[in-house]
Amino acid sequence: MRIEQEKNNLTTESKTKSDFRSAAESKRAPKAAVDGVAGVILAFADVSGTPDQVFRALTTDEILKWWKFPGMYHQKDWKADLRICGAWSVAVQLDAGGEVHADGEFCEIDFPRKLVMTRKFDNHPLQGNRETTITYRFEPSPHGTLVTVRDEGFIGRSQAAYGNAEIWEKVLGWLDAYLERL
């Protein structure tokens, strides 16, 4: 059974890989992994759109159009002072009722290649008030833009990291779907 599955995988991969050590050439689906001891999440995905479009989708009120978890929450009141040490904030409206807030500041803005920003939540059951630092990198790729995300600062709060990693995969999926529709 497992051998059959492996054979099927190989057949599929042989269409898209020149060598078994190469990555598949198909669009990279969102993936996030966690180093719980180091308190780091690493995530990446190929998304549609140019680095420029991706950068804007993450740093302007466009974010309200796509960063939403159907049945769980949507965001509103995005504010961003888009310069180094500038503050950003957003309100997260929970579908079950209630509102939480996320905020932080921009640390590095290298349009359209890199964005570093801090983030903390005012009412997070796993993360408390811990601030994390998010580094986004945007590189042109054959499928649009390769987005790499590092979210650091979870030392001692590994459960928050494992939870957030799953959410990062969703977020990158929503971002891709939004940019595909543009």
Binding site: R2, I3, E6, K7, L10, D19, F20, R21, S22, A23, A24, R28, K31, A32, A33, V34, D35, G36, V37, A38, V40, L42, A43, F44, F69, P70, G71, M72, Y73, H124, P125, L126, Q127, R137, E139, L146, T148, R150, Q159, A160, Y162, G163, N164, A165, E166, I167
Partner: protein, 180 residues
């Protein structure tokens, strides 16, 4: 959504089901980060990775298998293995152990004899093993790919497979033990 709500107490929590292998890459930092929950104890997982048990499970059917595992299990001790491709060609992998903390952590270097993407570059693997409700949570960092991101993206895909084979092997051993 429906599935998540069955296994999560809060949308910010990780699902409680067994963590499938996932590997992500930071191409600029030259690093792969991977994790998975595998069957078996940390001790069993540790041994499956650093003894000749590795020959039993680290194989891509139809592509390659490993043989001639050798390991001098001490800090600065060498390890090596032969990768036999299905067309008969043989490649070599080797490196040394940097840290051995049974059954919690392994740090080891790795080089390949003929890797089209990685060349002669040495990478450093750090495995961590933690008991988890589903067996052992394995976290893996592989570092040293700066300037060779394509090797990192390829290796990341392979790590997901390797962690899945490791889980399959350890799950099989568990079943065998129960039968006895």
């Amino acid at each position: 959504m429906t599935t998540d709500s069955k296994t999560k107490s809060d949308f910010r929590s990780a699902v409680e089901s067994k963590k499938a292998p996932k590997a992500a890459v930071d191409g600029v930092a030259g690093m792969i980060l991977a994790l998975a929950e595998v069957s078996g104890t940390p001790d069993q997982t540790f041994r499956a990775l650093i003894t000749n048990e590795v020959e039993k499970w680290w194989t891509i059917p139809g592509v390659y298998h490993l043989k001639d595992w050798k390991a001098d299990l001490r800090v600065q001790g060498r390890w090596s293995v032969t990768v036999e491709l299905n067309d008969g060609k043989q490649l070599n992998e080797w490196g040394e152990f940097c840290e051995l903390d049974v059954p919690n952590k392994i740090v080891m270097t790795r080089r390949f004899g003929a890797n089209p993407l990685l060349g002669e570059r040495e990478t450093t693997l750090t495995y961590r093993f933690e008991s988890s409700p589903h067996g052992t949570l394995v976290t893996l960092r592989e570092e040293g790919f700066i300037g060779r991101p394509e090797a990192a993206y390829g290796n990341a895909e392979n790590w997901e497979k390797v962690l899945s084979w490791l889980d399959g092997y350890l799950a099989g051993r568990k079943k065998e033990k129960k039968k006895r």
